[in-house]
């Protein structure tokens, strides 16, 4: 297989990771919203942890994007 074609196919496969990151981030915010509706008084105090969880989930998804970018432009 042509090297250029293989790289682009690899980059496309790496983008699947971005979809999984979407599920992860949605999970974090979804759990927060669900429990905030049950206990609204405690919601504001946990806002910091919400963003820490979001940052962790998003970072791993961005790593998948990074792999795709490396395949297209660097390797």
């Amino acid at each position: 297989m042509d090297m250029e074609a293989a790289k682009l196919i690899g980059a496309g496969l790496a983008a699947i990771g971005a979809g999984m990151a979407a599920i992860g981030v949605g999970n974090v915010f979804g759990s927060f919203l669900e429990s905030a509706l049950r206990n609204p008084g405690a919601a504001d105090s946990q806002q910091g942890r919400l963003f820490i969880g979001f940052a962790a989930a998003e970072l791993l998804g961005l790593l998948a994007f990074l792999v795709a970018v490396i395949l297209i432009f660097v390797a």
Partner: protein, 261 residues
Amino acid sequence: MATEAKVDPMDQFTIEPLAGTANWEIAGYNIAFTNSALWMLITTVVLTLFVAGGLKRQLVPGRWQMTVESFTGFIDDMLAANIGKAGRKYVPYVFSLFMFILFANLLGLLPLGLVGVHPFTFTSHFTVTGVLAIMSFAIVLVVGFWRHGLHFFSLFVPHGTPLPMIPLIAFIEFFSFMIRPFSLGLRLFVAMMAGHVLLEILSSFVIDSGNAGLGWGLVIGLPSLLLMIAIGALELLVAGIQAYVFALLTSLYINDAENLH
């Protein structure tokens, strides 16, 4: 079709020396004034003007003073919540870090293309965000070793770990500690780069479909334009969130150094 120029979404990130690279050498290093340095200068000036405008001492604050005080109060509360009383001495650093990254991200999104200026988001380069992350990590290391000496290494062995597991756990904890500056810089860099690449690709859809005729323009160009507006709003939110996450994680890492767990 073969003669159409392909839009390269990475072109917007090229660093351009604004006055050439010819006479800008010090001790063998090239220090040409680039577009990245120009926008860092612009960010600093705008930030200084913003904070200076709010430095009034009215007991009942006007709007500008209120805005500046809400930013400083926000960082103050965040450091107090994450570090405790010892957090007060980090407010200048974390506030500067947060506001610098926030203004950098936001200034890069300004629609100045309407008047022919190309805004440049200098936080979309790993060199810049990596240095900011290294600064935070260096503060963590200096504070940790200054306050605790070699006892700082107890950070890698959590309380109550059974003895046989200590080597494995310490190794994993050490690795996840050392990866912190890399992940800190990478997160901000990729978020900014991905946002701008997406906006450029959508704009290329609008322009190419518009050039291809009215039918294509309405079917592809118009939805792409609407999507650009929505993604633009999302990018404003992401600019704020990424700045906040950078400052929040910095304060958490400093907490690890100050109060070992």
